[in-house]
Symmetry: C2
Subunit: 394 residues, 2 copies
């Protein structure tokens, strides 16, 4: 079947499959069952809002991968995956949210038919959508298989982006610039937060020129004032107010690829301590970008930022970033490396991170972040072109 | 702490807790660990886009429930939950997506401190966000506990809605009418699907008057033509075309409560077989509503629809609906009863279902659905006010 919708070249998919099989070989696996929707899409092109039922990709050591899911979604698989129709399997609808049968029984049947029921099978134990129950059923159905944890095996293969992928992330970055600019332009005292978020969604999904916008894996996070001390509150219908900072944690999305970007807007005159934190944050980000070089490690980025912060008499705990790219809700991070002091992942050209050294204080939050690309030589490239400052509207 | 953000009365939360404890007692549980974000919100008011890290609610047989999650989200818990601050616990950030420690180790510590490490503990085995790994760690950490499956224990308590909840669903229904009307108005040959979806998002999130729109648990599903034979494909940047049907599967959302509504738009003159299916579907929905009476069962609704379909020489497989209400991504269904021939759940006043007898054919799909409320007497009430027909624009 020709590739109608799968967004990448066959060469690119072949590269991904080969890379994953190398990792399987190293982990001693004959078969991998991939639940993570991002990993499924990365390997096969599958794209649909169907991850709320059990589905996944079976990847053996040879041949095409097999996409497996609900029958009605197998129809979507035929329209989005690059594989032949014979490698797209649907299970009957009475498995869906049933109390008497479980889709993993059907999957186990497939594995038996493949003659792999005594194989060494990797599963993504730590993944949304691979439930404790799904695992229990699979283990019960395949008593002679050696089922082992292969969490993030595919995710790690996604860490260094191909040129084709970087093109997509750059398109997402253009959309990110548009959505952040929309947020900054529209923010004003009296504007209801939900009305502002509606404009943000509209800007992101209309996209930029021919690059239509897809749904980001996280909804717009736009908390103001005290709500901004908590990182993940969503909007409500309250009007924006003079004397409050609002942070905008947003991302454009192009065909499931993201380029997150955050800026903070203050309505009125910001207090001196926020201005001081702004200076420290901006200087720290520059230091972080300079440390984000091939050959350095993720912790070097974190330490470079924290050193600057300390010089300004400030401190911060927690993670400061993560790799990004292809993703589905509920998270746009890749869940492998982290930009934090205890993480020693070696940086390589083609890696893309959301570097987000947000400062969450007692009574306000200040988020200024960048999506950064590790280059061959020199400091990281910030993929979005947006002033790096606290935006003040008074 | 006063309730700042929790959307319901304390009487309502007390009702929910008491109902859940009765079910725990019946299931022989001393403690329940609730992972489902919808169940967490239903019990405590917690509301944040933070379900991509491990978090949950501990409910014992007395006292307030305990919300537990990442430290930065505990700050959000203080701003959204009704409980006292002492019952909102945050774990350190270095547990997040770590390869050397797991948040469930922290949770196990809490359970030990509560003196419940030898208790009978219920967990939601079949749930997004309760991963196979999370379960394995909890079992390992609490070797003397009797951990058992309590999947959907809370969900079943949510099936009959309170008056307070029905008010919210009616507000969502007003927003649903607005978004479907927007889709119908904007659909035209040449309109890019993503631009249409942008308008749909905008309509939903601006909401209706003071009832601001929240994000629906599923993004707008709007496939056209052959894509509409697959149920869960999302949009792209292709223009709408003459001679194609597009179904709109949408929902307004008011403070996490949903009222899904689907309609189909045909651009041009629909083929006779689609018109025939339309008549069968509309007549079948009327029959289904008439069968959706307190005292009847969910299967009676399905059979009433299928009987009409058969009279028209048509048939259909699969589920035709599910209970709805409070929800978070990736699904707005409650995952308990189903409207299908093999489900015998007794209907009671206050239950709310998305009755969705969509017809997915070889080369097109026809979705016309209703959110319905089971009443004291008489047939179900369709909560949205929207013509029940195939919308034709030629």
């Amino acid at each position: 079947m020709p590739i109608e919708h799968a967004p990448f070249s066959q060469v690119e998919y072949d590269r991904r499959i080969a890379k994953t099989r190398q990792a399987m070989d190293k982990a001693g696996l004959d078969l991998l069952f991939v639940t993570d929707p991002s990993n499924q899409a990365w390997l096969t092109g599958y794209d649909g809002w169907s991850f709320y039922v059990h589905q996944g990709v079976l990847l053996g050591l040879e041949g095409e991968p097999i996409w497996w899911g609900r029958y009605m979604d197998a129809l979507g698989g035929r329209r989005t995956c690059w594989m032949s129709e014979g490698n797209i399997h649907g299970y009957a609808d009475n498995y869906v949210q049933s109390t008497v049968r479980h889709p993993m029984q059907d999957l186990a049947g497939h594995i038996r038919r493949l003659g792999l029921d005594t194989a060494r099978i990797g599963v993504e134990m730590e993944n949304y959508y691979y439930s404790a129950k799904a695992h229990a059923v699979l283990v019960e159905e395949l008593p002679n298989a050696a089922i082992q944890d292969a969490t993030a095996l595919v995710n790690w293969q996604r860490l260094v982006k191909s040129d084709e992928e970087i093109i997509f992330i750059r398109k997402a970055a253009r959309i990110s610039e548009k959505v952040i600019q929309t947020a900054i332009d529209r923010a004003a005292p009296g504007v209801r937060k939900n009305d502002l978020v509606a404009d943000i969604f509209h800007a992101g999904i209309t996209g930029v020129d021919d690059d239509w916008g897809d749904y980001p894996a996280i909804v717009p996070l736009t908390p103001s004032g005290l709500d901004a001390t908590a990182a993940h509150l969503t909007w409500n219908g309250a009007p924006m107010r003079e004397g409050e900072a609002t942070f905008f944690e947003l991302s454009g999305c192009y065909r499931r690829y993201h380029a997150p970007l955050c800026r903070t807007v203050y309505l009125g005159t910001p207090p001196p301590e926020m201005r001081a934190a702004e200076q420290a944050q901006i200087e720290g980000i520059a230091a972080g970008l300079d440390a984000a070089r091939a050959g350095n490690r993720t912790c070097d980025i974190a330490n470079a930022f924290l050193d600057v912060l300390a010089k300004h008499g400030l401190s911060r705990e927690g993670r400061m970033g993560y790799p990004i790219g292809l993703s589905y809700p509920p998270d746009w991070g890749e869940r492998t490396a982290s930009i934090r002091t205890e993480d020693e992942t070696a940086l390589e050209p083609g890696m893309v991170f959301h570097f987000m050294p947000a400062l969450w204080m007692e009574s306000w939050g200040l988020e200024t972040t960048e999506t950064i690309l590790i280059t061959e030589n020199g400091p990281a490239e910030a993929l979005c072109n947006m002033d790096r400052k606290l935006f003040v509207k008074d």
